[in-house]
Amino acid sequence: MATRKGLGIGSMYYGIGYGFSRADIGSAEIEMAEDGTTTVYSGACDMGQGVMTVVTQVAAEELGIEPDQIRVVAADTGSTPDAGPTSGSRATFVQGVAVQNAAQELRGQILDMASRMLECPKENLHVRRGEVCETGTDRPLVSVGKVAHQLHFHGRRAAAWGWHDNTTQDVDPETSQGDAYATYGWATQLAEVEVDTETGRIRLTKLVSATDAGKAINPVAVEGQIEGGATMGLGYALYEQHILENGVPRTASLAFYLVPTSMDVPDIECEIVEVPDPRGPFGAKGVAEPATIPTTPAILNAIYDAIGIRITETPITPERVFFAIQEARARGEFEED
């Protein structure tokens, strides 16, 4: 089998969120019960990528309580406020700030009550691991649960609402000039492919994905997005194509529409880059789409690096590569072994 290897780069930037003056909001309510356990009513849909986990971590960080004391109720028009869609790599970036805002306000309520209970200025207190502590010494003074109990006992608020508006102006209708998005995601991938120069079949043998997460709130979840995104990019590049003939689908079965299997995907190497973005929660921004986009171009460029042939049409089927090699040969432009 005659094979050649090549390396290719793909880079991209991607406007995070909606842009184009489309409403781009996040909102959440947080409520602390008498025992200090907390419920976040978050309108953001978790599709398994982990926005519920991000919401939990942001709330835990801001409230100074343990994540296992937090329950998230998600995405129900009957019980949670509108947090916009989970799309556009926006959930962490937008909803994260809304939850942060709510949690900060609730923290203020806790510290106000603690200050009264402890007869200690609020400025000298902070919350850490479920305890209100003395600032400076970190000495625990009273548990958050006890403070919450007092809040409820005295009929004070132990709940807060957080909102975040990430809506941008639309760009100019004639020139598209303007601040199109609040921020952008950034990513570069390196692909190594092996080209079977006889059949035209391509195998992805290595993929390194450098993705800017701003701040990885949950690194394993970020890696999950990166690896899954690159795999979807690989499917787009090499295997998946929904074929219509006269407008009628001919690939309406997974026997014909080919999604990558575990044998088609290499171990994807995640390089999480963190360039903090002050507009996101703790500097974080979304990675779902940025991690998906560079794979196909990186593969296209790696194929060129391997065989000196530029493929300009996707998917890069073996047949397409085979005939591209034949044509290059016919023109005398194929570098024979």
Binding site: G6, G8, I9, M12, Y13, G15, R22, G43, C45, M47, G48, M52, T53, Q57, E61, P67, A74, A75, G78, P85, T86, S87, G88, L111, H126, R128, T175, S176, Q177, G178, A180, E192, A210, D212, I217, A221, G233, Y236, I243, L244, G247, V248, P249, T251, Y257, E271, V273, V275, P276, P278, G280, F282, T292, T296, P297, N301, D305, G308, E313, T314
Partner: protein
């Protein structure tokens, strides 16, 4: 507030940056999570859809009499049974919950059946007779751009034309030492969420229509369901059920209006679960695009201009296509400083399957073109593709294609540098350009 010790100032986070276990993962691993297709409600009916299967035609008649007589069938509905606008659509309401005047794509729904079990519903669907007068389908970019071709919707087949203009294109061309020009074609892709679309609806005793659905945005679903079915918005409750993958597909309406309508009409709970085949036929896909790009650079390795056209096939409905294709246009430069730009984008109606949001949202396609162009320019200049990108990438103080000034959070150079470091650490080298 205790500002001094807040983690944001000190960076000493307790939970940010930690691998907290996902709260929903264990129940999924146990097989305990109930997706819509796993849910059963007492008295629940099963729904099936009759799909058009043909791309374009005038609906003369839909005869449901035989279907309604199948034992166990509770309802057979067509467009005339829809109490509201029957319309939905994320950019404009150009899609019908049930096709009325015309069939515009093979993925249009023509009729709904609810029955005591799925087999009866399937049998009824097979007995619906459709009299369709075929129309010439518009299937290619060329057909869609032809002003003489029949219009799929009122207003013609070019739904949107956007323009990106920056700097002085002619000047950019003149300054160029190398120019690369190519036509790129990308294809239609399906999201293939492992869970095919599904919805479960019931009217509760207070008269509220409850819809459980694997959705990416319950509030916008409500915004679309209520007018389509002529309901007050506060009489519609949409609950996100556990969702077996979305990837942009379930950003749009899927099963919501259909199950809602059947529940309203039958006053019984109704569950609709797509087959994989239906999932591949119906709802949105990734836009195929045709992109003609001309890009230039100077001998010193700086980019000079981008001159491009992007044609996107949004199928028989816009869905989010107008935004997808506009986004492709403003991202057509890639993450680079390009001083002179002309890019035009066209959002085209065809009688192909509807395309909408999918992970990558137009930039997936644009990157195929801009990154191929970047490599060709680098090779023409004899530069490493990586160094060429580092030289041209956006940095704080530079402006994007839309003139947006980059400041904090501009990470492209850092990602390129990380790859460069990786390559040197692993002694990896490009074959080209040849030394």
């Amino acid at each position: 507030m205790s500002e001094d010790t807040s983690p944001e100032t000190t960076g000493a986070y307790h939970w940010i940056g930690k691998n907290v276990t996902k709260p929903d993962a264990l129940e999924k691993a146990l097989g305990a999570t109930e997706y819509v297709g796993d849910m059963v409600v007492p008295g629940m009916l099963h729904a099936k859809i009759l799909w058009a299967g043909a791309p374009h035609g005038v609906i003369r008649n839909i005869d449901t009499k035989d279907a309604a007589r199948v034992p166990g069938v509770a309802a057979v509905l067509t467009a005339s049974d829809v109490p509201g606008t029957n319309r939905y659509g994320l950019a404009v309401p150009d899609q019908r919950a049930l096709a009325d005047d015309k069939v515009r794509s093979a993925g249009d729904a023509l009729a709904l059946v609810a029955a005591e079990d799925e087999e009866a519903a399937e049998e009824a669907v097979a007995k619906i007779k459709v009299d369709l007068e075929p129309l010439r389908p518009i299937l290619t970019y060329e057909d869609a751009l032809d002003p003489m071709a029949p219009a799929i919707h009122e207003g013609g087949n070019v739904f949107q034309h956007t323009t990106v203009r920056k700097g002085d294109l002619e000047k950019g061309i003149e300054e160029s030492d190398v120019i690369v020009e190519n036509a790129y074609h990308t294809h239609r892709m399906d999201h293939v969420p492992m869970e095919p679309e599904a919805g479960l609806a019931y009217v509760d005793p207070s008269g509220v229509l409850n819809i459980l659905v694997g959705t990416q945005y319950p509030y916008r679903d409500r915004r679309q369901i209520a007018p389509a079915l002529d309901l007050a918005m506060n009489k519609v409750r949409v609950i996100q059920a556990p969702i077996g993958g979305g990837f942009g597909r379930k950003d749009d309406i899927t099963a919501e209006i259909h199950v809602g309508l059947l529940a309203l009409k039958t006053r019984r709970p109704v569950r609709l679960v797509y087959t994989r085949e239906e999932s591949l036929i119906a709802n949105t896909k990734r836009h195929p695009m045709a992109m003609n790009f001309r890009t230039g650079a100077r001998k010193d390795g700086l980019l000079t201009f981008l001159d491009g056209d992007i044609y996107g096939d949004t199928g028989a409905g816009v869905s989010l296509g107008a935004y997808v294709i506009k986004k492709a246009g403003i991202h057509a430069t890639g993450p680079y400083d390009v001083p002179n730009i002309r890019v035009d984008t066209y959002t085209l109606y065809t009688n192909n399957l509807v395309s909408g949001a999918m992970r990558g949202f137009g930039v997936m396609q644009a990157a195929v073109a801009h990154e191929s162009q970047m490599d060709q320019l680098a090779h023409r200049l004899g530069m490493s593709p990586l160094e060429f990108r580092i030289k041209n990438c956006l940095k704080p103080g530079l402006a994007s294609s839309t003139g947006q000034l980059m400041n904090e959070g501009c990470g492209i150079e850092a990602t390129l540098q990380r790859i460069k470091d990786y390559m040197s650490a692993h002694d990896l080298r490009f074959n080209r350009p040849h030394a």
